[in-house]
Structure formats: C-alpha cells, structure tokens
C-alpha cells in the first residue's frame, strides 16, 4: 500500500516575508482508504551555528556546537485520528509568519558555520504496524526591505606592484597597472555587483581575472568568538591576454540562499566580501579585497 505525503506551498518561489501568511496544502495520495492516528503540521525557524575546527579544537567543534537559536515555532493539528479516503486528498493550511516577543525573522541563509533555515514539517501518526509518515519542506524568508535608501558609493581602485601588501620579493614582480571601479560596495542583494576593470598595461600577459565572493561568518561562544572567511563562488570575468586599455565589465549575480543581507546580531555575524583576483601568466596571484554591505530594498 503506497502513500505519498507532500507539502505544496502556494507560492512557486516559496518566498515569504514577516507578517505574511504561509499558505499551502498537504497532499495525500493513496490507493486505498488510509487509517491514521492524526496529522500534525509544524513550522520552525532556526539559526544553526557551528564552530569551525580551525578556531577551536576538533573535539570542541564536534561537541560544543552552539545551541541553535529558535526564531519561530508553531504547531497545528491538521486532522484528528481517522481515515483518509482513497485517492487524492488536499488539506489546506495557513500559518501566520509572526514572531513572539521582540524576536526578528532573519533572512534565509545557507552558509558553512551559520545556517538560517525555515521549515514546515508534516507528521502523520499511524498504528503500531505501519510506519509514521513525515515530510519536510523548506520555505524561504526574505527580511523586510530596509527603509533607508541605498545611495551607491562607487569605489575606484588602482593596482600596481606598489599597492600590494603581503609580498616577499617586490623586485621579482612584473610591472602592471590595473585600474577600475565598483559601482557600489553597499549592494542591493537582488541586483548584480557591477563595475569595470581596465588592464592599462602589464609586462606579463594576464591569464585570468576573477571575482571571488566570500562570506565572513562570526560566531560568538563562551571562549570568545570564531571568525571564518570562505568562498561562495568564483566568477571569471576575463580569460587570457585581454586587450589593454579596454574596460572589462565586472558583473556578478548574488546567488540565492548563499547570500543574505549583511547580518549582525549578538551571537553571530554574516558579512560578505569580494576579491578581485588577477592571475598573471607566470602564476602570480594579485588580489584586491572589498568588503560589501548587502541589503534588501
């Protein structure tokens, strides 16, 4: 006897905001009438924090993972014990997305050490002989757009051997002059990061120019805090010996789920940076770092 249990949200993109109603149906498909001991539906929003093994010891990282922070939780009984008729049954449901007290609904974010996730879980209890059925469904929360207007502040940059730090032998570096600008470092998350980069001149041919999007996650814990920077994605914007003096566009779409508006709370922080990485043909790697401030409007 096969039964399928599914949760279907009304919105195709599964995106909701605080104060809205998460609506959908529980979908039950079975060939024969189905006896059950009650169907329940729960909604939960959690922040999972994890300490990286780099910051603390391996064992501590394993055992001392910080207790998840609950953002929202509610539970309803969809159906009392009874029978579901054969065929397709749809049970509609609605959850108001409202927090208790002064809690804030952070935006959904999938990171390495910080995860903010919202799920719907449907459980169907059954008799001792049959297994209980359960189904999870993630939905996405976008935080309220910020009120203040974002005024783009363009950032110009010039990279020459002299502007570099962290190098061993400055003398072995080939000569180059790379100029450019980012249209803004306070970016709207739904819009791409844009700008231009110009290779004015370079003694050694360029091999590649890349944009590296980096997340910086900070978790506070008893012993202090852990701050880790990891790569989200690396987008190549130039390949090979590009034409000198020609503006090459910087263009990167912020990936969904893996980015969120820059977040700062008492327990954890999520920040983003972009590195402009220039790889020379002799495998010299030149990086210019720009902290970003993401927001939603």
């Amino acid at each position: 006897m096969s039964v399928t249990l599914d949760i279907r949200l009304k919105r195709a993109n599964k995106v909701y905001h605080e104060g809205e109603v998460v609506a959908g149906v529980i979908l039950l498909v079975c060939k024969e009438a189905l006896q059950h001991h009650g169907i329940s539906l729960s909604m939960e929003g959690l922040v999972n924090l994890q300490l990286s093994s780099k910051s603390v010891g391996v064992f501590e990282a394993f055992y001392n993972s910080v207790k998840p922070i609950q953002l929202i939780s509610s539970n309803i009984e969809v159906a009392k014990a009874g029978k579901v008729p054969a065929g397709k049954t749809e049970i509609p449901f609605e959850f108001p997305l409202i927090t208790k007290g002064n809690k804030v609904l952070y935006e959904t974010y999938h990171g390495v050490f910080v995860n903010i996730q919202y799920t719907l879980r449907c459980d169907m209890k059954r008799s001792l002989l049959a297994k209980d059925l359960s189904r999870n469904c993630e939905f996405i929360v976008h935080c309220q757009p910020q009120k203040a207007k974002v005024v783009p502040t363009p950032v110009n940059f010039t990279i020459t051997p002299d502007t570099l730090q962290n190098i061993r032998e400055r003398s072995s570096l080939p000569k180059f002059l790379i100029r450019g600008h980012l249209d803004a470092t306070n970016c709207v998350i739904s819009q791409p990061l844009t700008g231009e980069v110009v290779v004015e001149n370079s003694d050694v041919a360029i091999k590649s120019i890349e944009l590296q999007l980096v997340r910086v996650e900070t978790c506070g814990c008893a012993e202090g805090y852990a701050r880790d920077a990891t790569e989200i994605q690396n987008i190549q914007i130039a390949e090979g010996d590009v034409c000198h003096g020609l503006a090459i566009p910087i263009y990167m779409v912020f990936p969904r789920l893996f980015t969120c508006p820059t977040l700062e709370t008492t327990n954890f922080k999520v920040e983003f940076e972009v590195n402009i990485v220039i790889v020379l043909h002799d495998d010299h790697l030149i990086t210019e770092n720009f902290p970003l401030k993401l927001c939603r409007v």
Binding site: A205, N234, G240, L246, V253, P255
Partner: protein
C-alpha cells in the same frame, strides 16, 4: 473479262462550285456560341497577372464582358484580401522580422565546415565523460551492454572524472560532438537537467581551446549546434509549462506566464550566472537568451549589451570574434530589431583588433606553424556574419559610419575586405573611389591587396559605380591586377579567398570596360591578361568555374556577335577550356545566347568562322556514349545557328557554307536534315541525302527535293530525285523503330506512296523515256516489293493509283505548277496517251480482281469485302459508269462486298444516297440505272 475501262471526264471547277455551298452552310456572323471567348482578353489578363500580385491590375480589353474573366481579374474580394494581408505582413516584416533576403546561418554552416579542415590530431577535454567509445553502432547494441555503458556514464558523472580524448581525426571529432549532442538530448529526455547543463558547459569550454587553430571555425559550427539544441530544449520546456490550459500565443507577454514557469526560468538564469568560467557562461546564457521573454519585457534588450560587453573579457581575439558572431546570430534570431548591440559588437571587435598582431597571438601562430594570412582567413566567417547582420536593411549613414570607423581603426585589410563583402553592392559601388583609396592606404598585414580588389569587384559586378568615376576606378584596379604575376602560386596559399578573386577582378574589368564605353579593346586586353596568367602550369585547370563566369559576364554584355568575335583574344580564351565537358558547356552557353540575341540573318565571315568553330566543338563532343537527349539538344543549337546563316541570293557561297557544314556535322542527323532543307534552294542535296540513315527521311527528302526542283522548274533534277526515291523503295525495311518501339513500316510506306502519287500528277514525262515512265516505275517497284504476308497493301496501292490515272486523263488537271508544263499540255489529250492510261488502268484493275479472287479462295472474305468496296468507291468516283461493262463491274463488286455481310449497312446506305444524289446531275442520269441494280442486303 477484258473490258475497256475508262475514266469519266471531270470538271473540277464545277464540282468545286457544287460542293462549296454545302460545305459552308454557317455564316460567320455576329452570333456564334463559341465567339465570346476572345483570345485578346485572355492575353491581356495574363500579362497583367504576371506583372505584379497587386490587386490594381485591371484588364483594359475591349472584349465583351465575360463573367469568368472578370472573376479572374484579380479584383475579386478574396484576392483583394490576400493582397492586403500580404502587404500588411510585409510592412510588419520590414519593421522587425528578418525577411527571406537575409541569408540564414544554416546556409553558412556547410560552407564553413567544408572550408576549415585539418589533418592534425584533435583532442576533446571533458571533465564529465559521455564517452561511448565502446558503444557499438546503434541498432546492434544488446540491452545489457547499453545499460552497462549508461551506468559507467553515471559513474563518470558522479566522480567528475576528467577525460581527455586524444588523437582524434577531424571526422572523429565531429562524431564525438554529435554524440555529445545526442547525450544532451537523452539526458534532457530522461529529466537529467543538471547533466544536460553540464554537457553544454563542457562543450562550450571546448571553444576556448585554440590548439589546431585551422579547425576553429568548424569547431565553432559543431559546438554551437549543441548550444542551439540546448537553447531550444530549455525554451520549449518552459513554454510547455505555460501551455496549460491552452498553448501560449506566439506574441505572449510576461503576464501570460505562470509563476512556476517563471521560477523555473529564473532558476536556469541563476544557475548559469554561477558558471565559473567566462566563456561557457557567455555561450550558455546567449543560448537561452530567448527565455528572457518569460521573465520580463526588457530582459533581452538588457542582456544583449551586457553580454556584448562581457565578451571584452575574452583575451583570444579569434575566440572573441566567434563569440560575437554567436551572440549576433542569437540576437538576430531573437530580437532582430535590437541593432545597437550588433553595432557595439562590431565596434568592440574593431577596438580589440590590434590584438591580432599582439604577442600572444604571434607566439601561438609560431607554435602551431600557421602563417598570418591563413590565420586571418579564419576570422572571415565570423566577421562576415557580424557585418551581414549589421548591414541587413541598415540605413546608409550607419554603413558610412562603419566605413569611417574601419578607416580610423587601423584600416585593416581583412576588415575592409569583410566590409566590402557584407555591404550592399550599390553602397560599395557608390563609394568605389573611397574604397580604392582605402585599399591603397590600408595596412596589408599579410592580406594581399588584389584580394581586396576582388571583393570590390564582386560588388561592382552587381552595381554600377558613378559614371564619372568609372575610368579612374578602372585604371587604379588595373594597376594592381597587372602586378598579380602568378596567381597559381597564390592559389596554393590562400585557396579559399584567392580563387574567387582573380575572376572577380576580371569580371569587374569587363563590366567597367563595358560601362566606360571603351569596351572591345579593354575587354580584349583583360582576356589577354587572363590567358597570360592562367596558361603557365595549366593554372586554368583549377579555375574553370571562374573562367566560365567570365564568359557568362562577357555574354551578358556583348550580344552583338560581330563585336564579340572580332576580339582576337576571345577564341584563344575559349581554348583554355580544355576539359571536354566544360568546353561543351561553354560552347552551349554561347550558342544559347547567339540563338536568343541574333535576330538578323548573317553572312559575316567572322561570326561564321567563330560559330563554326564553336559548333564543331559541340559536334565533336558527340560520341557513342552520348545520350540521345544530349545529341538532340546539341543538334538543336547547331540548327539554330545554321538557320541564322544566309547569303541572300549568293547561292554559290551558301552552298559552300553548307558543304563545309555538312563535312563538319556529319554525326548529327537532324543537322544534316536541316542542311538539306537549307540547300534545297539550290537543289544540290543529291549527295547529302544518301548519307542519312533513316530511310523515311531519305524518301521524304527526295520527294521534297523533287517537289522543290519542280517548283524551280528544274525538271531533270526533279526527275532524278523522284527516280532515286523510287529506286530506294525496295530497301524500305518491313519494320522500323518509332520512339524506341519496333513497328510495321507499312502504313508509313503507304502514306509516302500516296503522297508520291499525288506529286506524280504534275510531273511531266521525260522526253526520252516512255509515257508515264515514273508511274510505271513506281508500280513495278510496288509489284516487286516484298510486302508483309496477308497484307493488302500492294492492292491498296493499285487502288489508289487509279484516281491518279483518272486525274491524268483529264483535259485540265486538278492542280499544276506555274511555268511547268504538265502532261496535260505535253500530250494535249492525245488519244494515244489516253489509251496508254486506259491500258494501265485495265492492268491494275485486272490485278486487283485477281487478288479479289485469290482472297475469295483463301476464305478471307472480310478483307475481300473491304477491298471490293474501296474499288467500288474508286470506280464510282472516277470511272465512267455509262460504260456498261464498267457499271456491270461496279454492280458485281457491290454484290461481292455484300455477299458475306461484312459491309457496314450505314455506309452502304449513305453510298446509295450519294449515288442517288449524283444521279440528279444532268450528265449523271445513267447512275439511276445502276442504283436500281444495287440491292441493299439486310444483314442475316
């Protein structure tokens, strides 16, 4: 039963008079049922319809209104609607959609694949294998094996294994790519969208690999096919997602698209935006550019410029150029009205063009041992395509701007070449002087200048430059062309562009020469020059198509053949076509033009000599293997020429021409027949006719020649022709082949003899031979001829000879030839002559009767009856039935043919009525008696 049989006297005039009123009872007055259908009307209508499809064409014929014709006039409501909608559509099309005059990519594909080939080994480097190296050919694969390879594939996928296929030949490479294309489709069909995307990404990555650079354009073609497939798959999938409950209209907007479809589409774009490498990201996004329609109105319009700008990040100029070509191609397909990004692409291309001579590229060329000129040609498909997109229906100022920019930015020969090829010929022609200036100044960079003139020539061959500049252009171009010393060397180097060039240049000159009114001398010089350049090392062998088009071009301009052939280099030029098939083809095209345009008869020795030469070439190509059709068409062409030759009254000349022609064209019979017809004016065909193989053409030509001779009062010749005809009669075979089937020749022969007999009436007797010499001769031949068994043909000839004899015994003949005295005047009704005729008649009738008896014995009564009836008819019409014996014979014949009841009653009744009718004439009253003796036998 020897009876004196005689023909009755006839008064042909009176008979004709009697017949006339009966024959034409209907007055062709105003009324006639068939009359309203007037030819004039149909003609004018047809003309109007052919001219245009517009509905305004009205026929202005004065013919009475025919309801049908007014329906067909083109003004009926249906065609008016059709016309209106067509023009509307046209307007729409002009606004945005690409019309049929835009040469599509698909037509370039094959050309590129064929042109950019390599013998070097290629490699495919894939991170995700879809290698089916061990997979057997489709159809023979066992299921288990298929499953196994599938599983292997999946493993490959999961491991992300890197796989490099080395040492592939070009064909292998193409096959691999096709395999990838297939596995893309399979993956898609089995809902493995991620795998599909991976395949596409890996494929587009291959485009950043420029090792074996000569193959790059072909690689581009192969791989963009996969991208096109992918783009189509994604678009169709999203489209079907919205087609519930009913399919989306073609002109759908964002509002018609449901959220799920939008979300799916958005997902694709997010996925693609996160592709790490630049080139695959560009290509894949371009491939699904069309899907922007599902998301928002301005998507395409925003994406195109962005992608265009992103291409700047591609360092390799060749890779960049092709990426631009792909973007333009997609743009042209999806949003042809967005011209700006097309232009941007070209400007960026110009901007980065200096990289071609940059260090990276040069190093690469050295490494791959590729010459700069060859490398440059690799760009042409991409640049040509981009320019074609830009130039399509572009306004003049834009083109001018493009030209200016090309000039400013390096004025590179390659670019200039592409500009001249892509832009409208009229545009180029109008600025020919500017272009020549640019060609002179431009940076050659391994691109030979005469090729530029070739491209210029291509345009000038289609459109005329301004009148005033023509001579300058000619002179400038001339200088360059004379410098091209050895084209065959160039051919080897740049085989693709080069082979077109020389001939374009030449065509230009021919064209220019023509328009600058210095025609003959210049063209002659050009021809001389071509000959000079093409002859060493037999270079012409590689250039037949080009040389042929030179000829074609010349022919379109020189329709006056006396001018054409007076160019002394023309025939030597023709001699360069040494391959038989090509040669004949060229001759054929010349002949066709000649026949079409030579209106007046000619006797110009220059034309005659040259044409004879050409015709001889065509004739000499005929051999045992030549098809009949081929022979026929060649013969037609040659006949066309012979017909145009006339020396007026100068018969000697004409004759000698014909004699020469006869000697030359002895293999084509129709030509000889034509020659005989021509020469018949001079009566000297005697020698030619026997050389014909068809006996019937010989016979009829003899007869015809005889008639012509008579008409020209050449009695002895006529006599000889007719004698000859009689002489060959015994040679007529019993069966001949008609249209490939073997048929009895009897009916042809009977026809001929009847025709011959009719001619004999007017042929006067030869003074040295006896009376009715020819008639006797003919009858003797008929007697001796071996007729088919069981055939009455011989007797039929006898029966049909009787009317002739009857006609000969008249005082005035039915017809005569002016100025030729027939037997009527020669003998003047001499009793001796008449008795000769009578004797002959008797003999004939005797023969016929014998035959009838024999038939009676053989029990072939049906034949007997028919024969008897025809003899009865002849007697009735031509015999004098006042003679008792003759009338008795007629009655006997009548009875004979009714004896066995084979006679058709209807005919018998009509015959009786005719006789009764005849009997009413005053001198025919005797017939009444006869009629009474003719009994109608009812059929038993």
């Amino acid at each position: 039963c020897c009876v004196t049989r005689r023909s009755r006297g006839r008064n042909y005039e009176a008979e004709l008079q009697r017949c006339r009123p009966e024959a034409a009872p209907v007055e062709f007055g105003d009324y006639h049922p068939l009359k309203p259908i007037m030819v004039t009307d149909t003609k004018s209508r047809r003309g109007a319809r052919k001219g245009s499809t517009s509905s305004s064409s009205s026929s202005s014929s004065s013919a009475p209104a025919d309801p049908l014709s007014s329906m067909l006039d083109g003004t009926d409501p249906l065609s008016m609607f059709a016309a209106a909608s067509v023009s509307e559509k046209k307007r729409e099309k002009e606004e945005e959609v690409v019309g049929p005059d835009f040469e599509p990519w698909s037509s370039k594909r094959g050309e590129i694949l064929a042109r950019f080939t390599t013998t070097e080994k290629l490699s495919i480097n894939l991170f995700m294998g879809s290698d089916k190296g061990k997979a057997p050919s489709p159809g023979s694969s066992a299921v288990s094996e298929k499953v196994r390879t599938r599983l292997e594939e999946l493993d490959d996928l999961e491991e992300g294994s890197q796989r490099e296929l080395l040492n592939l030949s070009q064909q292998d490479y193409a096959n691999r790519i096709e395999e990838l294309n297939q596995s893309l489709k399979e993956a898609w069909a089995s809902d493995q969208k991620v795998k599909a995307l991976k395949i596409v990404i890996q494929c587009s990555k291959l485009l950043s690999d420029t090792s074996v650079i000569q193959f790059y354009p072909s690689k581009f073609v192969l791989i963009t096919d996969i991208l096109d497939t992918f783009g189509r798959l994604v678009y169709d999938r999203i489209w079907t997602m919205c087609s519930d409950p009913r399919p989306l209209p073609d002109s759908f907007t964002v509002d018609d698209v449901n959220d799920t479809a939008k979300e799916t589409c958005l997902n694709w774009f997010f996925k693609i935006a996160s592709i790490r490498e630049l080139l695959p990201r560009l290509y894949v996004e371009a491939a699904i550019l069309k899907c922007n329609r599902f998301l928002n109105k301005t998507g395409i319009q925003e994406t195109l410029p962005r992608l265009t700008a992103m291409i700047r990040g591609i360092g390799d100029p060749l890779v960049a150029a092709y990426t631009r070509a792909y973007l333009c191609r997609v743009g042209m397909e999806v949003a042809p009205h967005l011209k700006d990004s097309l232009n941007r692409n070209f400007f960026d291309l110009l901007g980065t063009f200096r990289q071609v001579s940059g260090e990276s590229v040069q190093n690469q060329l050295v490494q791959q041992r590729v010459e700069v000129p060859e490398y440059l040609t690799l760009y042409s498909p991409a640049i040509n395509w981009i320019l074609q997109c830009i130039a399509y229906r572009a306004p003049e100022p834009l083109l001018t701007e493009m030209m200016e920019r090309c000039k400013k930015l390096g004025n590179n020969a390659l670019l200039l070449n592409s500009v001249m090829r892509a832009f409208r010929p009229e545009f180029v022609a109008a600025r020919a002087t500017d272009f020549i200036g640019m060609i002179k100044d431009c940076d050659e960079a391994g691109f030979p200048k005469h090729l530029l003139f070739g491209s210029l020539g291509r345009s000038l061959a289609c459109a005329d430059p301004p009148e005033s500049e023509r001579l300058t252009i000619l002179n400038e171009a001339w200088k360059v062309v004379t410098k091209v010393r050895s084209p065959q060397v160039e051919y080897r180097c740049y085989d693709y562009i080069c082979d077109h060039t020389f001939y374009y240049v030449s065509i230009t000159f021919i064209h220019l020469s023509f328009i600058s009114r210095s025609q003959k001398r210049e063209v002659n010089t050009v021809l001389a020059d071509i000959i000079k350049h093409m002859t060493p090392d037999r270079a012409f062998e590689d250039a037949y198509p080009q040389l042929q088009s030179v000829i074609r071009k010349i022919l379109t301009y020189f329709q006056d053949f006396s001018v054409l052939f007076s160019m002394e280099r023309f025939l030597p030029f023709l001699d360069m076509f040494q391959k038989d098939s090509v040669r004949v083809e060229v001759c054929r095209s010349i002949m066709e033009v000649f026949i079409k345009h030579q209106v007046e008869l000619t006797r110009d020795p220059v034309i005659l000599n040259a044409m004879l030469h050409i015709c001889k070439t065509m004739h000499d190509s005929v051999n045992a293997l030549t098809l009949e059709d081929e022979k026929r068409s060649l013969a037609l062409l040659i006949i066309g020429f012979i017909r145009m030759v006339s020396f007026g009254r100068d018969f000697e000349q004409q004759l000698s021409f014909c004699v020469e022609a006869r000697a030359t064209f002895c293999n084509l019979e129709p030509v000889l027949v034509q020659l005989i017809h021509t020469v018949n004016h001079q009566l000297r065909t005697f020698i030619t006719i026997p050389s014909l193989s068809s006996i019937f053409s010989r016979l009829s030509l003899y007869l015809l020649s005889g008639q012509v001779a008579l008409a020209n009062q050449c009695l002895s010749q006529a006599d000889a022709f007719l004698k000859a005809a009689v002489g060959i009669l015994p040679d007529v075979p019993r069966s001949i082949s008609v249209e490939g089937k073997l048929r009895s020749s009897e009916s042809f022969l009977l026809d001929f003899i009847n025709n011959f007999l009719a001619t004999l009436l007017v042929v006067p007797d030869h003074p040295e031979h006896g009376v009715l010499y020819l008639v006797r001769g003919l009858l003797n031949m008929v007697q001796d001829y071996t007729w088919e068994d069981n055939s009455d043909a011989k007797v039929r000839v006898y029966v049909s000879a009787l009317p002739l004899l009857a006609a000969m015994s008249q005082e005035t003949y039915l017809y005569s030839i002016p100025k030729v005295d027939s037997n009527e005047t020669l003998y003047g009704g001499d009793p001796k002559f008449l008795s000769e005729i009578n004797k002959l008649c008797e003999t004939l009738i005797g023969q016929i009767l014998d035959n009838l008896k024999a038939l009676g014995r053989d029990e072939s009564t049906r034949r007997q009856g028919a024969l008897a009836f025809s003899l009865f008819g002849v007697l009735l019409a031509h015999g004098d039935l006042r003679n008792n014996k003759l009338s008795q014979l007629a009655v006997n014949l009548w009875n004979l043919c009714h004896k066995h009841g084979y006679c058709e009653t209807g005919i018998s009744v009509r015959t009786l009525e005719y006789i009764k009718h005849q009997a009413q004439q005053h001198d025919m009253t005797h017939l009444t008696d006869t009629v009474q003796r003719l009994a109608l036998q009812s059929r038993t």
